[in-house]
């Protein structure tokens, strides 16, 4: 305010008269700020354009397609508005698809994180061959899901699979892993957990190795045994890692496709949201609009899950 009064009082001064008064509600940028903005745009714009073209445009297109009754490959379509969404939620499919998605996600995220933590604790000990063991544990994570699915399919095959051979050796018949829908879901969960276990283990291992030693020593001096130290000290200190893994693993499980597709081509018993979206458009029915609506439901679900995790789970996280 003092500046404005000074400027107003000095209107006779030509230099001062040239100063423009700031307009309320309108920002002004210094030459330096403009230059920085230019550099920012030069560096970021190509990437932003690529993201807009290959991520956001397909996303918006998908939302638009979800409002159409459109047969894949056909050049014409009919606008149906919310029709595809109404049909999905009123059909018997929604319940089973969402249920299968929930079971698959909870089992794979829970399984991979719990087992990953146990493996990380084991790999954090001074044991012979530790480096080799770490590599072996992490290796499945970088393998192709298609390859993993095919190999495990051979293992589970009830006629000439390795598992069947082992079971026959002890006088047992192989369960119908592939044909029985309930067992098929168990089968793909086991394989998905096996594949992603290494990821959780390595991230937990990094978390374990960065724990402050003084806290652990203090707990030991206070008489806490290994189990009490693990439960009351290690787990809370690992909570940022757990939170990170919870978000990334949940997103990964909700988008799991390759292993399910290879091991159970018809999705009988293993029809998750993303698999149903595939089946509706490409796998069987050619209903591209309906499939797009299912994809949007998945997108919203992912958004809600991430939002809930950020809103509620992060409160429990202790940052050392």
């Amino acid at each position: 305010m003092a500046v404005l009064e000074a400027v107003a009082a000095d209107t006779a001064n030509p230099v001062a008269a040239d100063v423009r008064l700031p307009v309320p509600g309108r920002k002004t940028f210094s030459p330096r700020a403009r230059q920085e903005a230019l550099v920012f745009l030069t560096l970021a714009l190509p990437n932003l354009l690529l993201i807009a073209l290959f991520t956001y445009r397909p996303l918006l297109s998908n939302i638009y397609y979800s409002t159409l009754d459109w047969t894949l490959g056909s050049v014409d379509a009919t606008v149906v508005g919310w029709g595809n969404y109404v049909e999905f939620f009123h059909s018997g499919d929604a319940g089973s698809v969402l249920g299968t998605t929930a079971v698959f996600t909870v089992a794979t995220v829970g399984g991979a994180m719990v087992l990953g933590l146990l493996v990380a604790v084991a790999l954090n000990q001074q044991i012979p061959g530790r480096t080799l063991a770490r590599s072996a544990v992490f290796a499945p994570y970088v393998l192709s899901g298609v390859g993993v699915g095919m190999v495990w399919l051979f293992i589970f095959d009830p006629v000439y699979g390795v598992l069947s051979w082992v079971l026959r050796g002890v006088g047992l018949a192989s369960p119908q892993w592939i044909n029985d829908p309930a067992l098929a879901l168990v089968m793909v969960i086991l394989v998905f957990v096996w594949k992603n276990l290494g990821y959780c283990a390595i991230v937990y291992l990094a978390g374990l190795q960065s724990l402050p030693h003084d806290v652990m020593e203090a707990a030991t001096l206070d008489g806490a045994g290994p189990l009490r130290r693990f439960y009351f000290v290690v787990l809370p200190l690992l909570s940022p890692t757990t939170f990170f893994l919870l978000i990334t693993s949940t997103l990964s499980s909700l988008q799991a496709f390759d292993i399910i597709k290879i091991m159970t081509p018809t999705g009988n018993g293993t029809g998750t949201l993303i698999f149903e979206a595939y089946l509706q458009a490409f796998g069987a029915y050619n209903r591209a609009g309906y499939s797009a609506a299912i994809s949007v439901v998945l997108f919203v679900l992912l958004l809600i899950m991430t939002g809930l995790q950020l809103r509620f789970v992060e409160r429990k996280v202790h940052y050392a």
Binding site: G25, S61, G73, L153, F156, Y160
Partner: protein, 452 residues
């Protein structure tokens, strides 16, 4: 931090929103009903393109023979090159690629289309009727086997030509049958096989890894096709033209018989992946599979020193014949290309399905020759079992509309079969649910698009 919504911000957000929606709407299907009508082409003024593409899944391990046929075509037509594209491992993967390619401008010219895909293409008009084009390139389409060519007829036009056409065959392990004291032949009816099965199972139960006298093919691999035979034999079916009959009394009876063979009589199982492989491994004594597996299976059996026999599909208590469905794949020509490419494609299609080349293709794979005037003498000299497929072709029956013309019907049939055969579900209830789903598919996705 709070933000004031002023005129500038409002206009910016509104503009971005509208722009996004407009951008999203670009490139998709037309929703205004203003699809351009097909142009009439004066083929006499069209010169064949210099290069076309052929998308195939190489059915029956036919990659080598397809490459050889292409080489011969290029030699006979020096101005035209054909690029062979592997579109996937099966018909479904090829179909996915062909359909998604419609969104762009790089559409394959000639595509392998199975019995369940060509009709969808014809409805969507992504392929073109071939009668006129075949006449232009001088192909006497009358030479095609009438049943096989007739399978592709819709609105008085043929939308594909037969290529890798097959029927199911009854495959059996001769040694297992001999061990049970049975004749060296396929059973005449399923009822006869039901009498044989306990003997076969008892005689071979001591074999390492032995499981069942009969193995139903994997349900993921076209259950609707392989079960068609059992349904027809008992007087049932998936449909009678557009009337769905999946839960008719006869169909329920047929599928109950199937269920009991697995759960009650316990002489049959269901393959998890490939029934022919199960049989080759000695785990089962008989199965049903495509003629397209014939040559490969016989070669594998020879290597394994196993005696494999083949026979007609068994009949049923109501109908002994015809109970064998046609199947396999034909060739379609894409509509979304230039007349020059379509003309070159027609020349190619005509060439690889001509009498001499269909015989060569048949010899390499076991698929049936698609022309009546194909000389099969040399082929039969090396693989006499193909004669059986040729004989059976005379008593084939086109598949039920529900299986081949309803999108997703095959999957629904496989899922219903899984409930009945694997989960021991109530047959009438499962087929009732299937009936509803098939009727829904017909009403929603096919009926509105049907033309007279």
């Amino acid at each position: 931090m709070s933000r004031i919504i002023n005129r500038r911000n409002f206009l910016t957000v509104t503009g971005l929103g509208l722009g996004s929606v407009a951008l999203a709407a670009c490139g998709g299907p037309s929703t205004g009903g203003n699809v351009p009508a097909a142009m009439n082409t004066d083929w006499a003024k069209v010169t064949p393109a210099a290069k076309i593409t052929f998308m195939s899944s190489h059915p029956g391990k036919s990659a080598d023979i397809e490459a050889a046929l292409i080489a011969d075509f290029e030699a006979a037509n020096p101005g035209i090159k054909v690029e062979l594209i592997t579109g996937g491992a099966n018909y479904e993967e090829v179909a996915q690629k062909f359909q998604t390619s419609q969104a762009g401008n790089n559409v394959p010219d000639v595509v392998v289309a199975s019995d369940v895909w060509w009709f969808r293409y014809a409805l969507a008009e992504t392929v073109m009727p071939l009668d006129e084009l075949l006449a232009v390139v001088g192909d006497k389409s009358a030479g095609f086997n009438a049943t096989l060519f007739g399978d592709y007829k819709y609105t008085d036009k043929h939308w594909a030509v037969p290529y890798a056409r097959s029927t199911p065959l009854f495959y059996y392990n001769k040694d297992h049958f001999a061990a049970a004291g049975l004749p060296d032949r396929a059973p005449a009816t399923w009822e006869e096989f039901a009498l044989w099965a306990p003997k076969i199972q008892a005689a071979n139960a001591g074999n390492k890894g032995y499981q069942h006298a009969y193995q139903y093919p994997a349900l993921a691999g076209y259950a609707g096709w392989t079960l068609q035979n059992v349904l027809w034999g008992q007087g049932g079916g998936w449909s009678k033209e557009w009337e769905i009959t999946a839960n008719s009394e006869a169909s329920i009876k047929a599928m109950t018989w199937v269920q009991e063979s697995i759960t009650k009589d316990k002489w049959a199982g269901v393959s998890s992946k490939d029934a022919v492989s199960d049989m080759s491994a000695g785990a089962v004594s008989a199965t049903v599979s495509s003629t397209g597996d014939l040559v490969g299976t016989l070669e594998a059996a020879k290597t394994a020193k196993m005696n494999i026999g083949v026979g007609f599909l068994p009949g049923g208590s109501v109908s002994a014949s015809p109970v064998c469905p046609t199947g396999g794949a034909g060739l379609v020509i894409a509509a979304k290309t230039s007349p020059e490419r379509q003309l070159a494609a027609a020349k190619f299609v005509s060439f690889i399905t001509n009498a001499a080349n269909t015989a060569r293709f048949s010899a390499a794979t076991g698929y049936m020759p698609v022309r009546d005037d194909a000389d099969m003498t040399a082929v039969l000299a090396t693989t006499p079992q193909i004669q059986l497929a040729l004989d059976q072709l005379k008593v084939t029956r086109s598949q039920d509309y529900a299986r081949v013309f309803l999108p997703g019907a095959d999957l629904e049939m496989a899922n219903a079969a899984a409930k009945i055969m694997n989960e021991k579900a109530d047959v009438a209830t499962s087929l009732g649910e299937l009936q509803e789903k098939l009727e829904s598919i017909y009403t929603k996705t096919v009926q509105p698009k049907l033309k007279d």
